[in-house]
Symmetry: C2
Subunit: 197 residues, 2 copies
DNA sequence: GTCTATAAGATGATAGAC
DNA sequence: GTCTATCATCTTATAGAC
């Protein structure tokens, strides 16, 4: 701990790598993966342009790091939801997450959905890595629906995420945050009706 | 008619323009808009590479032509649905359209949804042009829901399209055509329940 | 009116200096 | 171990030949 603080080299390196991943994630969310250039990422992270290749062998490597970073975020989010008492409350907390970030969704789309859509087209293996983001959420939601006594938990989980992602897509296309909020509320009512019936 | 068939020049020109739009639409659907190059479009349409600029001043112009072409397709589709007797049957025909093309959706995503998502990010005016595709569908669905006696027709229409688009997105990400079909069936049941109640 | 040859610029990636 | 200078390639776009 103390030794690593005296030598700034490892700290700087870790800092730069993190900054590169953060910048890349932000730019790819706002501009899209193909439209984001390494030059932009480097400048936003305040790292020399060609030096990106010291930290990532290729652009795909950087994309992979962004996926991993986002997957860690999703895992953390779902773990936080586990604190809630009932499955229905947990599912509604999931939906509310998109409602809370409606401004970002309306401006740049869902950070997870747009990434999966863009990478889903590729045929170099990266498409399989990105889909883990959706799978994490579907699997978690399926477990919650099963706790609610639903045998068709998987289909319900897919319906929920499809509703969220579709609303995010329309909210983004129309540039309308309220659309995201309204649809999220409808989904929460759907969850309530399901846990009641 | 007969005069235009003797001189092949106008026919060829019209044919090439159409071929360029068709090729561009197909490639942008499969590879994405930014990843599609004019060289690919020209080759697929069997037109000399640099000659694309005779038909379209810029790449954005070609994109606009693709949007217009797709909008015409949507209008034609909705007009065909108007033949059905009841509003509920029309809405279910709309949903079934995505179910019928589930193989394409699973492989390359919804041709409309992916286009709107990719162009929705831009800030050069093209984002506003692409959203017309969604608006056509939402407006039409809203009218059908109102015929069903729903005061909240707009929100219902948004919910329907969001469900369809979300399902298409997940079907694409997971590469699973059945997911699209299953979710479409659920939406059809939802329409039935609505028109009954 | 139609197309070829090429320019101008940007992008991902590398070789090698420090 | 870190970064600079540069390459090879590709992409949009244009000037001008046919």
């Amino acid at each position: 701990m103390t030794s690593s603080e005296t030598t700034d080299s490892p700290i700087e390196r870790a800092g730069k790598r993190e900054r590169l991943v953060a910048s890349a994630g932000d730019l790819m969310h706002r501009l899209g993966v193909p439209a984001t250039t390494l030059a932009q990422v480097a400048e936003a992270a305040d790292v020399p342009v060609g030096n990106v290749y010291y930290y990532f062998k290729t652009k795909d490597d950087l994309i992979r790091a962004v996926i991993d970073d986002r997957a860690a975020g999703v895992r953390g989010m779902l773990a936080a939801f586990e604190q809630r008492r009932s499955p229905a409350t947990r599912l509604k907390a999931l939906v509310r997450h998109w409602s809370d970030m409606r401004e970002v969704v309306a401006r740049n789309g869902c950070p997870i959905g747009t990434l999966c859509t863009e990478l889903g087209r590729r045929e170099d293996g990266l498409e399989a890595e990105s889909v883990v983001l959706f799978r994490l959420i579907v699997d978690w939601a399926e477990a919650q629906f099963r706790l609610l006594g639903r045998r068709d938990g998987h289909d319900q989980a897919v319906t929920l995420l499809a509703g969220v992602q579709g609303a995010a897509q329309l909210s983004h296309a129309f540039g309308d945050p309220d659309l995201m909020a309204t649809q999220a509320r409808a989904l929460e009512r759907w969850i309530d009706a399901m846990s009641a019936g």
